[in-house]
Symmetry: C2
Subunit: 217 residues, 2 copies
């Protein structure tokens, strides 16, 4: 994999499990900044990620990280608040913004989608009208990302409203372990792609599988 030059990736919410794992993996190919609401928490996560990746990872507030990046990944645990997104909209203007967000409910022992008939990626695109938004990474288990010994031979479905935005996102996906990106259609198709994650979580729970992901065969 060629090193994508000096492109700067901001991981918004990068102190959480998914964000930390992505930071550690992407730091091998990109200039990575972990963003957090809290500067001290960002600095702490960045120090840990630097040690794990053996490459320097920076820590900033979400707003500073967004302003100073070329590509942002919204590694937040659930639908971001309208306030968070509107605060980032100017800093993320004209940039690639990748949503791995899966809007989920857990009720009666079963995971489901909390936003039927819509998707997190579409919500994000509406809140960031000046950005190029894609959906990706939904089915990559956070716990495996953070384990650098895991090869991550998984397939990742990517949604984007143009082939160009897909291609840019696919390069980011391809830089992580052995992840293989596939174009899964426009942002509206995120409704289908985001639903795979709660299905996998249910399968994991009911069949005692550890952090399953998928491959196309």
């Amino acid at each position: 994999m060629s090193r994508p030059g000096e492109a700067r990736i901001a991981i918004i919410g990068g102190a959480g499990d998914l964000g930390f794992g992505l930071a550690v993996r992407l730091a091998k190919a990109y200039n990575v900044t972990i963003g957090s609401r809290d500067q001290a928490r960002a600095a702490d996560a960045a120090a840990k990620a630097s040690t794990a990746a053996r490459v320097r990872v920076e820590g900033k507030t979400n707003g500073e990280a967004a302003s100073a990046c070329d590509i942002a990944i919204l590694a937040v645990p659930d639908l971001p608040s309208p306030d968070l997104l509107s605060g980032l909209a100017q800093g993320l203007k004209d940039k690639l913004v990748i949503s791995p967000i899966v809007p989920m409910l857990f009720r009666d022992g079963i995971f489901s989608i909390s936003l039927p008939g819509e998707s997190a990626a579409e919500r994000v695109a509406k809140a960031l009208p000046g950005s190029r938004v894609a959906g990706a990474f939904h089915t990559v288990p956070a716990s495996r990302l953070a384990q650098l010994g895991e090869e991550l031979a998984y397939d990742v479905l990517v949604t984007a409203d143009s082939r160009e935005v897909y291609d840019q996102t696919a390069r980011v996906v391809s830089s992580v372990g052995k992840l293989r990106p596939f174009y899964a259609g426009p942002l509206t198709a995120s409704r289908l792609v985001e639903a795979i994650t709660p299905a996998l979580l249910n399968v994991s729970k009911l069949n005692k599988l550890r952090s399953p992901s998928i491959r196309l065969v």
Copy 2:
């Protein structure tokens, strides 16, 4: 795989692509009848399936096939009409009914779910209140089922409202090629499982993959 004795499987809508493929595969382990609205069409498909499977497959009307079976698979191309289901309800009473149905739309070049916030399996269960309903086989490509040379090393997510109905369905799934069943939760979780099929069809179309299915890894 042990032969599940003399259990009789009716494939409702068995003259279509998915039904024909399932009939050919299941005929090795079960006593299979292809059902169709039209007796002549059922007989024709049964003759072809008998030749392909090298085992006798019968052909009957859907109603006759339903009455004479232990297990029914609703291999219809889209949501069955309320009339079809209410006509079968008595014949299918107390029986296992497996729904591989995926309610889909194709618009602007993209497949999507036509029944957001519900699922075909839930609809079927409502229309057949005396039956034990499960969802399965959604992601098994019909074209590969009918090719007996394909080993079908795919994973199949099964939904059912009890572990007992899951177990019965899992035995049917396991008898087809190398399909591996996994319990994916109650019938409401079919909303998630059914959505995987249009996602795969979009990926197939946009990435020029032939009939992809999935494996958990």
